[in-house]
């Protein structure tokens, strides 16, 4: 198999696109690295070297002593596992020689992030935080308070994300709203232990995926990626806490600690 210079340029563009999609939609670094390399090799490169950093990927293809290097900036597009699955599927099809470079490119360009109906997500997240309140030992009144507090917070989180506000501001405001609604339950003594709703209703704002990705990146040798994700997740946690504290100061309901 031989590649012209032009074909090799085309190949590296396709591989870079795949890596960029994976990176932007929240895949862990090992997956970004492996899948990009596999797509490049399946399309005929001798080897693919790539460097994954928190906001960009640099990728080099090698063929017959000829190197082509390209960089792609990766803006965060939010976690989307369906995109990750689709890129992985395209990679496997390319490896099985079911697709050539042109078809892989076409398919990658056709991918559109799927989003669930937003009200379905709001409803499920309300129930989810309600379940957390059950785990903390709350009764059905607390479940109801938690449901409404976290559903309201989720609606706000979606609205602000849709308007491209900073996630840090977004999470602080959502935490403020959730805590304020949950503290109504404490003020009106709704249920046995209404302060449980305070702790449960903000759990939708835990940056769980970034935290798990951070630790697994570090475990698999991508230390700098892991640190970057860890710092970002910690900042999110901090801004959620600032939102909670602001609300507690305003309403005077301090039931969290103690």
């Amino acid at each position: 198999m031989s590649l012209s210079r032009q074909a090799q340029t085309e190949l590296i563009r396709v591989a870079a696109k795949a890596g960029q999609l994976l990176h932007q939609h929240g895949a862990e670094s090992r997956l970004v690295e492996q899948t990009t390399q596999r797509i490049g090799m399946a399309l005929g490169a001798r080897s693919i070297e790539l460097s994954v950093s928190p906001d960009a990927i640099v990728i080099t293809s090698l063929f017959d002593g000829d190197c082509i290097t390209t960089t792609r900036r990766c803006y965060d597009r939010g976690i989307n596992m369906q995109m990750v699955c689709d890129v992985q599927r395209i990679c496997i099809m390319a490896e099985k020689k079911l697709l050539d470079a042109k078809q892989v490119k076409e398919r990658l360009n056709r991918l559109k992030p799927m989003k669930y109906n937003r009200w379905a997500v709001v409803f499920m997240i309300g129930l989810a935080c309600g379940s957390f309140s059950h785990f903390f030992g709350g009764d059905w009144q607390v479940y109801i308070t938690t449901f409404f507090a976290s559903a309201a917070a989720m609606t706000i989180r979606q609205e602000l994300a849709h308007r491209h506000h900073s996630p840090l501001v977004n999470f602080a405001i959502a935490a403020f709203v959730a805590t304020s609604i949950a503290s109504l339950g404490v003020v009106y003594e709704f249920g046995e232990k209404p302060e449980i709703a305070l702790a449960a209703s903000v759990l939708l704002l835990v940056p769980g995926f970034p935290l798990i990705n951070a630790v697994s990146d570090m475990l698999k040798g991508h230390i700098s990626m892991g640190i970057a994700r860890w710092v970002f997740a910690s900042l999110l946690t901090l801004s959620v806490s600032v939102g909670i504290v602001a609300s507690m100061t305003l309403t005077g309901v301090v039931a969290w600690i103690g």
């Binding site: 929240g26 895949a27 862990e28 090992r30 997956l31 492996q34 899948t35 596999r38 976690i79 989307n80 596992m81 369906q82 995109m83 990750v84 699955c85 992985q88 599927r89 496997i92 992030p113 799927m114 989003k115 669930y116 379905a120 997500v121 499920m124 997240i125 129930l127 989810a128 935080c129 309600g130 379940s131 957390f132 059950h134 785990f135 903390f136 702790a199 449960a200 903000v202 759990l203 939708l204 835990v206 769980g208 995926f209 935290l211 798990i212 990705n213 951070a214 630790v215 697994s216 475990l219 698999k220 946690t237 901090l238 959620v240 806490s241 600032v242 909670i244 504290v245 969290w256 600690i257």
Partner: protein, 154 residues
């Protein structure tokens, strides 16, 4: 109540957050059922282990590594990367309220000044967050660290 009933109630309340968060991460529709099964299994298994007196960190490690291997099986069956199932399934076990308690404690240390009680809250909750989180991620990564070691899983 006997143990079986408690386990079933625990599993019932655990699949809801697993699916809810899977929807936030836009897991494909067909895979949501696996997240539900994984979430219910993981949380009730940890409940069982803790019921027999295992500390929460070790129970989490045991649970998340079995979830890691279950995810391995599903991932090779459906040709889908593992985090799609595994992360959503362990979401109900993420130490969210420990993490928030820690940081709220730090914020209050700043505003209210030093107090032994606050320091205790910060240190205890902070350490618990760290260890549970490390146990979770390490358990999930176990198959690729111990068995696959750099080879792709799907």
């Amino acid at each position: 109540m006997d143990l079986i009933t408690l386990l079933i109630i625990d599993a019932w309340f655990a699949w809801i957050p697993a699916v809810g968060f899977a929807m936030v991460f836009n897991v494909p529709k067909k895979m949501l059922i696996y997240c539900a099964v994984g979430g219910a299994f993981a949380h009730s298994f940890r409940f069982l282990l803790m019921h027999f007196g295992m500390p929460i960190e070790w129970a989490t490690l045991a649970t998340s590594s079995s979830m890691g291997f279950l995810g391995l099986y599903w991932s090779r069956k459906h040709f889908i990367p593992r985090p799609v199932f595994t992360v959503a399934s362990v979401i109900p076990m993420i130490p969210g309220s420990f993490a928030f308690t820690t940081v709220i404690g730090i914020v209050q240390l700043n505003s209210g000044g030093y107090s032994l009680e606050l320091i205790q809250i910060v240190v205890e909750n902070g350490l618990r967050t760290l260890f549970i989180l490390a146990a979770l991620s390490f358990g999930l990564a176990l198959p690729s660290i111990m068995i696959y070691r750099g080879r792709p899983i799907v």
